[in-house]
């Protein structure tokens, strides 16, 4: 629209100006403002109540007003955010990632010290609290901390008093450089975090709340850094609720295929995020509709509709919406081809669903083999071959009968063209269903006799 800029700097200025404009257009100012204000109120009142509890008995009338305030502030935040995480980190206070201004205000700044008496660093409110529950919470904190495991002891007290929706978090500190390496590189931890996040996200979206993509994006970034081909991720997929496990499976396959197809890091992040929430449309369909063919047709647009509740523009949101809308559309769809992310998601979704629904009757190899033959009609032909290339002849999870008569389970995607039919495996005991502690590399020793369902 503008006349072409004359030099590098003009061009840069224009491009940066547009980026800022886009970001501003994408900001949900209203939500951010509400969270900031509500968070400030929650943090200040909470800190104030905990202080008061040291000088007043829990039934003192002085508590009435602040208890009311806290219940109201919490209700508003729960309505907006679902689970509300109030966290004190050193002298900083955060509510669901949003930093609360504590400078110059006594209350929130002291929250960390109050929580630390019970070796706690934060509170997760999974639901709103009535006045009685708020009083019980405050009374719990007013007690003398247990000498051993005070946080756990306080959590027990809260449960006994019926405060079941408040979870105490450990104390936090900012990480410093260097100490992150062991934790960040633990794929199992990363996967479990992802599964937990997916469950929480679906719960929130099902309850009519707004998608909070940042934690999910961080989870995807972490998986991408670890590498979606890492065997530990594939071996531990079964640790979550069924929908979370399915979402994580779809995400792993999609990221593997997307990465091999040469998608850029930004597209990969968006693909992973879309994969984690692609089925969320089921959350707002009546159960009689959701189960069966109509649910299959209606959940993609309903998912998009749920995602539309998140305000603010970003290209990521558009790609997410497009992918979720497209994730059951055929490659040769008469209305037009699905988006690239939608096509990858479709492949990953069908593959994961085939195995989920027919686990006992079809092997991952056969599932992939069937899909490969539908390439060109249901699936993008080149992407399907990419998926074959990365999952291999014996995709992760395939039960194998080895030529030496032993059984094994494949635990790795393809590591390179020469390992296409030679994955890493764990030896499988058919009677006990136990897997060996060590992995064996079929590229080094052993050979597959056949793949089996189950």
């Amino acid at each position: 629209m503008a006349p072409p800029p004359t030099n590098d700097l003009s061009l840069a200025q224009l491009s940066l100006g547009r980026a800022i404009g886009r970001a501003r257009a994408g900001e949900d100012r209203e939500l951010a403002q509400k969270v900031r204000e509500g968070g400030e109120a929650l943090a200040h009142v909470m800190a104030g109540l905990l202080k008061m509890s040291k000088v007043h008995a829990p039934d003192n009338r002085a508590f009435d007003a602040p208890v009311d305030q806290l219940a109201r502030a919490l209700d508003e935040l729960v309505n907006l955010l679902g689970t509300v995480h109030l966290v004190a980190v050193e002298d900083q206070v955060y509510v669901n990632e949003v930093r609360i201004r504590a400078e110059g205000k006594g209350g929130a700044r002291d929250l960390g010290a109050e929580l630390a008496r019970h070796n706690a660093g934060g509170l997760s409110f999974h639901a709103g609290l009535d006045r009685t529950a708020v009083r019980a919470l405050v009374a719990g904190f007013a007690q003398k901390p247990a000498e051993v495991a005070p946080r756990r002891a306080l959590q027990q007290v809260l449960l006994e008093r019926g405060v079941r929706s408040v979870e105490l978090a450990p104390r936090f500190r900012f990480q410093t450089q260097g100490e992150d390496q062991p934790m960040r590189r633990d794929p199992v931890e990363a996967l479990l975090r992802t599964l937990g996040l997916v469950e929480e996200t679906y719960d929130n979206l099902a309850a009519g709340r707004i998608l909070n993509p940042l934690p999910l994006r961080r989870a995807v970034v972490e998986i991408l850094e670890i590498g979606p081909e890492v065997p530990e991720l594939w071996e531990n997929l079964g640790g979550g609720a069924p929908h979370a496990t399915h979402a994580a499976s779809v995400a792993l396959v999609a990221l593997l295929v997307g990465k091999a197809a040469g998608l850029r890091p930004a597209a990969l992040q968006d693909l992973g995020l879309a994969a984690l929430i692609h089925d969320v449309g089921y959350a707002c369909l009546p159960s009689d509709v959701a189960a069966g063919p109509e649910g299959l047709v209606r959940h993609p647009p309903e998912g998009a509709r749920i995602m539309l509740r998140q305000r603010g523009f970003s290209e990521s949101k558009l790609r997410r919406l497009r992918a979720v809308l497209d994730h059951h559309r055929d490659h040769m769809e008469p209305r037009g081809r699905p988006s690239a992310l939608g096509q990858v998601l479709r492949l990953a979704e069908d593959y994961a669903t085939l195995l989920r629904v027919h686990a006992s009757s079809i092997s991952p190899s056969d599932a992939l083999g069937s899909m490969a033959r539908a390439a060109g009609s249901a699936y993008h032909p080149a992407l399907t071959q990419v998926m074959v290339n990365v999952l291999g002849r014996y995709p992760p999870g395939t039960l194998l009968e080895l030529e030496d008569g032993r059984y094994a389970r494949s635990v790795s995607p393809v590591r390179g063209p020469d390992t296409f039919a030679a994955p890493l495996v764990r030896i499988y005991d058919l009677k006990t269903r136990a897997l060996s502690r060590e992995r064996h590399d079929l590229a080094v020793e052993g050979a597959v006799h056949r793949a089996l369902p189950g």
């Binding site: 404009g21 639901a127 990480q175 159960s287 919406l321």
Partner: protein, 562 residues
């Protein structure tokens, strides 16, 4: 904008280490970080098209180039309130609301290494990410680390952690019983089924995939792809909303976002396509709501940001939207004395809203500077001539002489009756050009009712120049020729003439009478003027002859003015 409302992003004493770094590489890195921080903040403080922003950008480019050329690599360690290079503090700011280091640290960034082969595009991307984070937006979608990871830098390496971590000096076991969470999602029975019937499995083999078969898929997130994505989503979502009966409110905010994003990207052609598409697929009401939103102040900011401040002309794609942009916001910005480029654009936006929004402009006119008020006043006169008198009334009350003259010019050509009283008052104006012009306009648009005012101007005690007197004389002749002829006769033969000589007032009257006589109808004036010329001396004689000549030359009789 040329005049920022906030102070420039100079480093406060807190933003530089108390004792500067000693190692040359640390000094160079410090200079780069300072330039980076300033440039990032400048985009938040000023209009991105501002010349000052370009200056900060140039400084950042120069400092970065110099540092990389000389030292090859800048490895910067990020801590909560400062940043270090080779163990020396090169940036320090304890104010966590402003500090670049705290923002980076809080988002989990721990080390930033700019490699020698970092391209200018990568350096700009880094700046963009920081500028976006400085503006405090995108908190729901991304943080600094996810943004940096998205880019896939080759010349910039980052080490990041999750921002904070459990401080498990005294770890405690979790309770067996899970804390309750309300509203748990359970997938329905038979979800994602029935599965499509697939063919029998085929053999699996590794085959190289030709890059060209994947390239179109990769291109979907390339430059210009967003607009296509917007259009495809818009079409599908509107159709789905109509099929499933979604309330319109489900989509209104989303379409406003699409509109703003396309504006921010300068994709006005795509915005037009979106508007058309909504009409085609039956989203007419959505389209109207989306267009109505163009009137928001925030939307106007996006438009302004998308047009370079020094753009010589408006982008053609913007023209269809001009009538929809927010006039109040545009006037507000105009009142803030923007730079020349912005002013031109904003003026065109306002003019495009006339005559419908003439009230809004008229309300603001008194607060605008004279040149702008003149331009907008002319706009109203041209596009809403029936409102001319209101423009005139405002202009005539202005302290600025040019505006009062502008008001008089507008009045002269205004349709219908003109208010004569304010004109008569202007005969006592402090400015001679205004008084003279008022007399002129009174002559053209006035009637006998203004005779006394004109006469009073010549008979008062104020000194009147020959030029003003001429105008008054002619005006008298035009509004009331018979009465004026009598007056002129008296003024041409003053009684005190041979006793004491003429007073300045009598001279002015005489001067006016000559000019006025020349403007009278009929044949009488010419012998009067000829006779007067013969018996007068010097200036008056010349004035008579010039008036006669003018009268004879005038194609349509005596009333034409020069």
């Amino acid at each position: 904008m040329d005049r920022p409302t906030r102070s420039p992003p100079r480093p406060s004493p807190a933003t530089t280490a108390e004792r500067g770094p000693t190692a040359p590489v640390a000094q160079a890195a410090g200079a780069v970080l300072l330039a980076l921080s300033r440039a990032a903040r400048s985009f938040v403080l000023y209009d991105p098209g501002n010349a000052l922003v370009r200056q900060f950008l140039a400084d950042y480019q120069a400092k970065m180039r110099a540092a990389l050329d000389q030292y090859g690599e800048l490895a910067i360690e990020v801590r909560p309130i400062d940043m270090l290079v080779q163990g020396e503090v090169v940036y320090h700011d304890a104010d966590r609301e402003k500090s670049l280091s705290f923002r980076l640290f809080r988002d989990g960034l721990r080390r930033l290494t700019i490699l020698p082969h970092a391209t200018w595009e990568e350096q700009l991307k880094l700046l963009e990410i920081l500028a976006v984070r400085y503006s405090g937006v995108r908190q729901q979608e991304d943080d600094t680390v996810t943004l940096l990871r998205r880019v896939g830098f080759r010349g910039i390496a980052v080490v990041a952690v999750e921002g904070f971590t459990p401080a498990e000096e005294t770890p405690e076991p979790a309770l067996d019983e899970r804390v309750g969470r309300t509203g748990r999602f359970r997938p329905p029975v038979g979800w994602d089924t029935p599965l499509r019937k697939l063919p029998a499995p085929g053999p699996l083999a590794f085959r190289e995939v030709a890059d060209e078969s994947l390239a179109p898929l990769r291109a979907e997130d390339g430059e210009g792809a967003v607009a296509e994505l917007v259009l495809s989503l818009a079409r599908d979502l509107v159709q789905e909303a109509m099929r499933a009966g979604w309330p319109r409110s489900d989509l209104v905010a989303f379409f406003a976002e699409l509109r703003d994003a396309l504006l921010a990207d300068g994709e006005l052609g795509s915005l037009r396509r979106l508007v058309d598409l909504l009409g085609e697929v039956g989203g007419g009401e959505l389209r109207e709501e989306m267009l109505r939103g163009l009137g928001d102040a925030r939307t106007l900011d996006l438009v302004l940001a998308a047009v370079p401040e020094d753009a010589a002309r408006l982008p053609p794609d913007l023209l269809p939207f001009l009538p929809l942009l927010g006039i109040d916001a545009a006037l507000e910005q105009l009142a803030g004395n923007p730079g020349e480029g912005r002013r031109r654009l904003l003026t065109q936006i306002v003019l495009a809203r006339l005559p419908r929004e003439a009230d809004a402009v008229l309300r603001r006119l008194p607060a605008l500077d004279a040149r702008l008020a003149r331009d907008l006043g002319r706009g109203i006169v041209a596009r809403a001539p029936e409102r001319t008198n209101e423009v005139v009334r405002q202009f005539l009350a202005q302290a600025d002489e040019e505006l009062r003259l502008e008001g008089l010019a507008a009045l002269e050509s205004a349709p219908g009756e003109v208010p004569l009283q304010p004109l008569c008052e202007l005969l006592r104006d402090t400015s001679e050009p205004v008084r003279a012009r008022a007399a002129e306009v009174l002559g053209r648009r006035g009637d006998e009712s203004v005779l006394d005012a004109l006469r009073g101007a010549l008979e008062g005690s104020r000194e009147i120049s020959p030029g003003e007197a001429e105008k008054l004389g002619r005006a008298l002749a035009e509004v009331a020729p018979i009465a004026a002829a009598r007056l002129f006769a008296g003024w041409l033969e003053p009684k005190a003439r041979f006793l004491r000589g003429l007073s300045p007032q009598q001279r002015a009257q005489q001067w006016a009478a000559v000019a006025g006589t020349g403007a009278l109808p009929g044949t009488d004036p010419e012998p009067i003027l000829s006779a007067l010329a013969e018996r007068s001396e010097d200036e008056l004689r010349r004035h008579c002859l010039a008036t006669l000549a003018r009268r004879r030359k005038a194609p349509r009789g005596p009333a034409s003015h020069e």
